[in-house]
Subunit: 119 residues, 2 copies
DNA sequence: TGATGAATTGCAGAGTTCTTCAATTGATCA
DNA sequence: TGATCAATTGAAGAACTCTGCAATTCATCA
């Protein structure tokens, strides 16, 4: 404990969320939530360029949120720990609520736009 | 339901996380978790430039995660709904676990670096 | 060994986000 | 009204991220 260069917690949090902030990375994490997957599977499931996927996998690897293992000529990825799966579930739950909230908000906005138009 | 231009869910998620991915925005959300705050309070608590804070508040506002209300010459911000507070709590919990995991991972890395150095 | 397939890395250009300065809006009060 | 404080907006440059091409690594197998 007590490193020479402690990163403030709020900054670590921000970096963590930023790391999650990319559609391909989200998809990969959700796919890995189902279980370990080979890169070829991730490739076909996401439909992105091989090198582009690799770049995003590298981001997740550097963050320590996934782990890769070479098996012969193929590479398999998996979530780095059970917490990560929990995290993805929590995020999904939270986001579903959030998006529901946004829909309501949208309705409100629509409503007030209408009343503004009427006046 | 069923808008003309539905955004894929994983993209909405990515945007949401990206929106969280900034140290000042994280700090603001945590401060607002304690209760509504005036901009002046946020200013002194975060210590950033006024215009910089305003920019970040605008990001949170556009995302619909905070709400602002003018009261005389000052403006007060609050979390836009109870889900948001839950979200922040969940994120904190998750991240604490994650960071603990990272420390372990770091220990492992240190360990393997040492054994590599030995061989 | 060389040819092939799987995955990664390096890199350049396009695009996005951050910060800061200056200008603006809105409210208060002498 | 004009002076002042609070907060926001606009805009420009620096910094960062993303994509896709080309080159590379690593393993397999004829």
């Amino acid at each position: 404990m007590g490193s020479a260069m402690a990163v403030p917690l709020y900054q670590a949090k921000a970096e963590f969320f930023r790391m999650l902030g990319h559609p391909v990375r989200i998809r990969v994490l959700e796919l890995l939530g189902e279980g370990p997957k080979q890169v070829r599977e991730l490739l076909t499931d996401t439909g992105v360029e091989a090198s582009s996927l690799s770049q995003q996998l590298a981001v997740l690897r550097r963050a320590g949120i996934v782990a890769s293992a070479r098996e012969g000529s193929t590479v398999t990825y998996a979530l780095a720990g059970p917490d990560v799966a929990d995290l993805m579930l929590a995020a999904r739950r939270i986001l579903t609520e959030m998006l529901a909230g946004q829909v309501e908000l949208l309705d409100e906005l629509r409503e007030s736009a209408v009343s503004r138009a009427r006046s």
